[in-house]
Structures are given as structure tokens and as C-alpha cells.
């Protein structure tokens, strides 16, 4: 699986996000692979109702229906059309009890969770909480030019091994600095089930070309 996180990038908001989702739709159909987009909550409905690719929220709070003004309700993003959410992204770290609770709430609602982790120990810890995916992203490489698969290949392999020992059903994504097909091929070779990518796609000059390369490497 390829998950494209649009962050709060201008190129990944509103109409730009819909346009990006349409590119992703074409590539996903051509290569018959899963490509999902993780967007601002306010963009979920528009993308989910106009395209066929799976839409994730970039965050949900560990809350149920009730008096929680201004927090992101899992039930609300689901009704808007999301199929899941990122959790604990390096730009939005969460308390451990909230990660656990958010995963539980999401599971009850049939929402998928992708929980991020900055190193192998934390990847292992989060695997104990049974999200659908753990995404390992060394923070010092996020947004940079060298991919995690080049800079720290062992971290990806160790994360995969550690997670499998804890809970076989948890899948592993890797992220940080992923820029092209080679990075993706390497991730797969290291045992990852997919990648989490942001600027590498969203801010690429030719987004469809890069995505095609990555999808090709994923097959």
C-alpha cells in the first residue's frame, strides 16, 4: 500500500487535494495496487464523494459522541467518507493512552488505523496496541532528501521483525524521505508492506510520473 499524506501543504488542500486524488485513482487502477490519501478532515467529504480512492483522516482524537467541541470525532470522519486515520504522526504526537483508545474506537467503527512511530522500540510498543498498520518514520529524515531505506535500512528490517514477533496481523509501512521507485523497491525488499509518503509525491513536479514509478516498484 502507498499512503500519501498531504499534510497542510497548499498542493494538498481542497481542489488541489481532489486533483491529486484523481491522479492517484488512475495510477491505482493501472497498477491494481492500493493507494490511499490522508487529508485534512475538512477535505474528506469532497474527495470521498468525488473519487474512488480510500481516504484517511490525518488524525482522530480518542473521543466518542459527546461534548468535545473542536476535537476530531472518529464517527464524524467516517460519516464524511473516511475509511481510517493516521495516528501519532511525528507532527502530532499523541499520549499513549489516547493512541490505545483511538485504535479501539476506530476498530469498533470499522476504521483502519495507521499509527506512526519514530524508532524500533516505539514501533514494537505500538504494535502491542494492535493498529492495522505501524508506520516507522525516523523524524530526522522526514521531509529530507535521503530516504529511510537508504539512510537506515536496518531500522526498517528491525521494525518489521519486531512487529511480526508481537502481532502478526499488524502491517508495517515505512516513511521519511521516500522520493522515487528505488526507495519503494528497497522498502518492499526490507519487508515493509508499503510506504507513507508526503512531499515526495505532493510537492513533486510531475506527481503522476513519480507515483507511477512508485506503484511499479510496489508490484
Amino acid at each position: 500500500m502507498i499512503v500519501v499524506n498531504t499534510k497542510a501543504y497548499k498542493e494538498g488542500i481542497g481542489k488541489n487535494a481532489v486533483e491529486l486524488a484523481r491522479i492517484m485513482e488512475r495510477v491505482a487502477e493501472n497498477f491494481k495496487i492500493d493507494i490511499a490519501i490522508a487529508v485534512q478532515p475538512s477535505d474528506i467529504y469532497m474527495i470521498a464523494s468525488q473519487t474512488s480512492i480510500p481516504v484517511f483522516s490525518q488524525h482522530i482524537d480518542a473521543i466518542n459522541y459527546g461534548s468535545h467541541t473542536g476535537w476530531i470525532l472518529p464517527h464524524a470522519i467516517r460519516e464524511a467518507g473516511a475509511v481510517g486515520s493516521l495516528l501519532n504522526h511525528s507532527e502530532h504526537r499523541m499520549k499513549i493512552e489516547d493512541i490505545a483508545e483511538a485504535i479501539k474506537i476506530a476498530k469498533n467503527l470499522g476504521l483502519k488505523t495507521i499509527a506512526c512511530a519514530s524508532n524500533v522500540g516505539i514501533t514494537e510498543a505500538i504494535a502491542c496496541l494492535s493498529p492495522d498498520y505501524v508506520a516507522i518514520e525516523p523524524p530526522e529524515l522526514i521531509g529530507g532528501d535521503i530516504s529511510v531505506t537508504k539512510a537506515k535500512p536496518s531500522i526498517v528490517r528491525d521494525a518489521v521483525d519486531a512487529v511480526k514477533k508481537i502481532n502478526e496481523r499488524v502491517k508495517v509501512l515505512c516513511g521519511a524521505g521516500i522520493k522515487d521507485g528505488n526507495d519503494v523497491a528497497k522498502a518492499v525488499e526490507l519487508g515493509a508492506d508499503g510506504i507513507l509518503v508526503a512531499s515526495g509525491i505532493v510537492k513533486a513536479k510531475d506527481r503522476e510520473k513519480v507515483l507511477n514509478e512508485m506503484a511499479e516498484a510496489m508490484k
Copy 2:
């Protein structure tokens, strides 16, 4: 102005929120008054594109375009159709520097801000930051059965006086426990420019009836 905050109430999410917005639309047209809805970010687009009432986000973060995964981007809620946002709600208190920054960002984007405050001193402090509205809501009365206008009328009057002294352009809303037309009439009498209401409307048995009464009292 009447601002209806749907919080994370089941009755105020997704299709339920759109239905509520349609009721508000009818009442607003009948009485020629301003009625706005403050919703989950994921509901903004659906309501803004299907109804004519002003839509507020329940929160925005003090961020601009960039690497801010999972935080609520003012630019994104605007593109989804919001005309403004609540800030510093008692269920989502903000750092003072973030309130100031969020107001500034909102202003640059043409978004209105309604900043909440729990007492007169804080109302005065927030008025210094020049939001469009300050909403005074004593937290101990929120969600309760006795309205702020009955329990603490002086707090509303003092807030109105304090704000006018600081910044004449800042309008004052009052909230907490507002349940019927009498509460609204009293709020207006005390000098408030409007009310911020949640369960009083969202969880009312006959929402249109209560809203009609409140609108009548507002005229």
C-alpha cells in the same frame, strides 16, 4: 447573532448536521436574523455546499500552509466553505499565543473568529487580541439547566462593559445553559450581541420550535 455549536453530539454530525442546518436556514430567513452553525471540520463542506447558513469550524489551529499533519488548517476550512471558527472553547482551551496567532491568520484569510472566555477578566484579555466576537461562557453552567443570564446576569453585563472599553469593534456573545426565548431576551437586554448555544438547540425535542422562540427574542 445565534451561533449553534453542534459539538461532537450525534444529533449534530453528518446528515444530522445538514438537517439541523436546514432548520436553521428556515428560521433565519423567517426572522431575518443571523444564525450560524459551528461544526466538526469534516462536516463543513457538506453543510456549506447544501445550505445557505454561515458555517463555522469548531476550532482552527494557529498554523499556515506547511508540515502540520493532523492539525486544523484555517486555509483548509475556508476552502471547504467555512466563514469562520470558534477558538478557545471551554472544551478546547488554547495557549494565549495561539489564540492571538489564530486570530491574525483568520483575519488575513477573511475568516471571522469567535473566541470563548470563562470569566470577565479573560473576556477583557481576549478582547485585546481583536477577535470578531468574544463569547463568555462560565464553564460551570455549560450543558446545565440554568442559563448564564439567570445565574450570573452581572457577568454578562460586566463582560459587555469591559469589552467596549478595550475595543469597541469586538462583539460579545454569551452562552452556557441557554435554553429558551427568555434566556435570549435577557442576554440581549444585558447588552450581548448574540448567543452561543449547543445542547439547548441540538438536543432539544423540537429544535425548530426552540429556535423560533430564540429568534423571536433576538429581533
Copy 3:
């Protein structure tokens, strides 16, 4: 081990904390068991320099020397005489990356860590981060009259089993509602290496008597 958390209780601050520490000192010597006190940072030096019992901070932040005004520096509590710190107490939940980092910093400084967890899954997750102790405390029982060992004995046993599977060197404490010797005996029987207790000691009428009973049960 018995760890007494004085929270921000009047009975556990300043001179009162020293007095309590002296009681703990006597009991610890009589029964030859480990009894530690977890206090406000501002009380560490006074207790550590006037008594012989191990002093823990109630919290440390995941920081090193530098520009961190107002955060609790591990190096500072160590120099004041602390031998370790609680982490992630239910009244002070931490981000998972900060728990991991605080444990690492503490280890480098020779400080012991007691990381709290609200359920078995989180206990397991935290064990992956290799603190010296995990303390399982179901939040709904904290400060109450029924001890975790009576209300949820299986949670303690499951936590002990889960932790041993993850990392044999991590010890397990249990807490919440611990009031007397029976609760402690039961905790030991369930496999716990000790207890974390607050109001049960700090607010007891006869603190020495209760502590004697607990120490007796611990032997």
C-alpha cells in the same frame, strides 16, 4: 517495593512530606523492605538530604540540558537527590515518544523509572520501552475504596504475564485503591513486585499503622 505517591496532597508537601518520609524510613528499616516516596520536584532535596529513603520525582520531562524553561529536567532532580521518577501517571499522561525518550535519558543518568499504564495492552506496550517498573493502575479505581486487586485481580495477573513475555527485567507494580495489608498481600500473590499507593497512605488517619500492615504483607 512500596512506592508512596504524595501527589499534590497537603499532607504530602514540604514539612509534611518530610514527616511522612521519616515514618516510611522507620517502617522500611523494621521490615527490611524497599519503600520509596514520589514527591513534588520542589520537595526532593529536603527529603533526600534529611532521610535515607529513596526519593522519586512524580514526573520528568523528556529533555536534556538546554533552553527548556519550566520543564522538569531529569539531571536537575538527580542532582537534588532523586533516584528516579514516575512517568505517565494517570494524572499526567505522556506522549509515547516522550515516555521512550524519558526512559532513555533516565537510564543514561542512572535514574530508575516507574511508568504507569491504565490497562494490560498499554502495560505491554510500555514494557517494550524498558522502564525499570510498569505500574498498572486502572484509572476508574484510582482514589477509590475498592482496590485493583479486589476489583480486577485478573488485570494484575495478565499484566504480570504480558510483561514477562515482553521483557523479563521489567518489574510490575500495581496500584489504585490499595488501602491495607490484604490488598498488598493479594498484589504479591497475583505476581506483582510491589505496589504504588497514594491516598491509602498519605491520607490515612494512622499512616504508620497502615504502612506497617502493608510492609508486613510485603515480606
Copy 4:
């Protein structure tokens, strides 16, 4: 007044903090001016019991006696010997309701408060909450080589004017990049009642010399 914030600098922790406090003691006596030190909570008792200079905590939380494990209790830092606390430092921003509440609690306990603010609008807002001091520190200048009094003299003057209009009893400190006597003289000339300084003193090669110069300029 000169307030020296030792942050979490190695040079301002434990014995180093006591040593610095002794230098401050000498300078304060020679020049008959007020010099206070703001330290880690765990260093308050040691400094307050071994020197005569006023000791501030770098932060207090907005809490009273009770179940608040790991938060900084105003009552505790007072009993340890502190005479007041910084609030809302740029490295530890606070929610506006917590600033207001912390000021109220401190006042009831006879503790002085120095609340920090990053710009003139926020300085004005905080003045509405009646701390004893507001310290204006543009964050972009903190820790840098150019003092606020050189880089943005108008911000100091405007802050002083704004505060006087709101509440005459609130005094104004200025900070950020203060390095020598000239910076201090300029601050006084611009109307400030004192300065808040950190690395300029704590990391100076000859701390007594710099402090002497600053004290001289303060007279």
C-alpha cells in the same frame, strides 16, 4: 529588577545554581537593587535556604492541593522557599485560562507572578489578568545576540504604554538577547521596570562582571 532565568542550562542547575545565586547576592547588596533567580523547582529549596536572593520557580501549574501527580503545585514551591514564579515563558506557553487561574492562586498565596508575552497585543491581554509583572520577549530574539532593546525598541515602549493604560500596577520587564549594561540602560530608558535575562548571565564567561555592569545600568 533583574530576573535571571537559569532555564535547564547545566550552568544553572544544582550547585551551579547556588554558586550563581551567591554572585547575584553580592551584586544585589553592592548596588542595592533587586536581583532574582528563576530556577528548576528542584533547586528552589537549596537556593532559598542558602542565599538571601528572591527565588522564583520557572513555572507553576494552575492547581490547588489535590490529585495532581507530577504537576507543579504553587503551594509546594512556596513552602520550598520561592517568592513567585514565571508563567507562560516562550518555552512553556500556557492556556489563557490557566494563566488567569495561576495568577489568582499565586496572589492568594502571596506569590509574585511574572507572565511572559511575545508581542504588544499579548502583553496587553496578559495585563488584563493582573500579574505583578509582564515580561515582553519577542521569541525570535530569545537566545540571540541582538537585544530586544536594539532590534525592536518600539516594542518595549509600546508594551509599557499599553500596560499602563490597562493596569497601572502591572510592571513591565523586557527580555530576549539582553547581553550587557547598554542593553539594560536602554531598557530602563524605554520605560521598562527591569529585565528578564538568561544566557546573557548564565552562560557569560565572567558572570559577576556582566551582572555588575547590568546592575550599574539599572541604578
